[in-house]
């Protein structure tokens, strides 16, 4: 590993961890989304040190370009009510989960300290569009098609869940409730 790669590794990991902490600690969701953006761009830089050039490009396009923008859209849609105040009485549970996750994470993290490894010399097409694309469209063709179906299903499902009633449906529902109210009122007379 050369010096430039070492510098890039240190720079991107520090930036990614700072962004992650900002995501979970900031009170306003828009600031959290911007911190998430910092983390995601830093991870794209980290993938470059691992010779995953295509994946770095996909990370920027899909995560920074689509997912974070989707979050920002929803925050703008919700307006001021996107920010919530923490409800009272949950402080103990939250502190317990904080301590528990800290212990769990440090146990796993310290088990990786001192794992030494020799990096193997890479094949020429490793991580490029040619190398990854060839394997994606030969060995992983069926999962690739299944993922495309999954994405289509998710888009249709998201529209079905999030949409409001159309004007016609609203009018029909109002008419139905009005006639029900009339039917209830009728026997009373």
């Amino acid at each position: 590993m050369t010096d430039a790669k070492f510098i890039l590794f240190v720079f991107t990991t520090i930036l990614a961890l700072a962004g992650a902490l900002g995501t979970i600690a900031s009170g306003r969701p828009l600031r959290a989304a911007m911190s998430l953006l910092v983390t995601i761009i830093s991870l794209a830089g980290l993938y470059l040190t691992l010779h995953a050039e295509l994946l770095a490009a996909i990370q920027v396009l899909v995560y920074a370009g689509a997912i974070v923008v989707l979050f920002v859209f929803v925050i703008m849609l919700l307006g001021p009510s996107a920010t919530t105040e923490s409800s009272p009485g949950t402080l103990m549970v939250r502190m317990l989960s904080l301590v528990g996750m800290g212990m769990f994470t440090s146990t796993i993290a310290f088990s990786f300290v001192g794992v030494a490894s020799e990096w193997i010399v890479l094949p020429e097409t490793f991580g490029t569009v040619e190398g990854v694309g060839l394997e994606l469209y030969t060995k992983a063709l069926v999962p690739f098609e299944i993922v495309s179906f999954t994405l289509t299903t998710a888009v249709v499902g998201a529209v079905a869940i999030a949409r409001t009633k159309t004007a016609r449906e609203l009018a029909a529902a109002k008419e139905r409730s009005a006639s029900e109210a009339a039917a209830v009122a009728q026997p009373a007379e």
């Binding site: 992650a20 010779h51 997912i67």
Partner: protein, 102 residues
Amino acid sequence: MELGLGAYLLFASVLFGIGATGFLVRRNALIQLMSIELMLNSVNVVLVAANRFHPDNHAGQIFAFFVIAIAAAEAAVGLAILIALYRLNKTVETDKASLLKH
């Protein structure tokens, strides 16, 4: 200074821990969804680093590609559910989502 596989695994585990802590500690559904994205990203780092360690095929990178695709689908459906929940409760606080409680 030489960086091995361990440095990447260490970084990924810390990132996963931050994401999991955010999911458990925060009660804002938006920030909980962002914490899920952090956890998925840390798994991607492990997959790509392990692929760099065994570079004779691209299995890790292709797995990471699929994880990114599933994360996009998850974000779309999760945010749609969040908007539906907001219409019902007029809040995105997950403690208030108690329709199925009784």
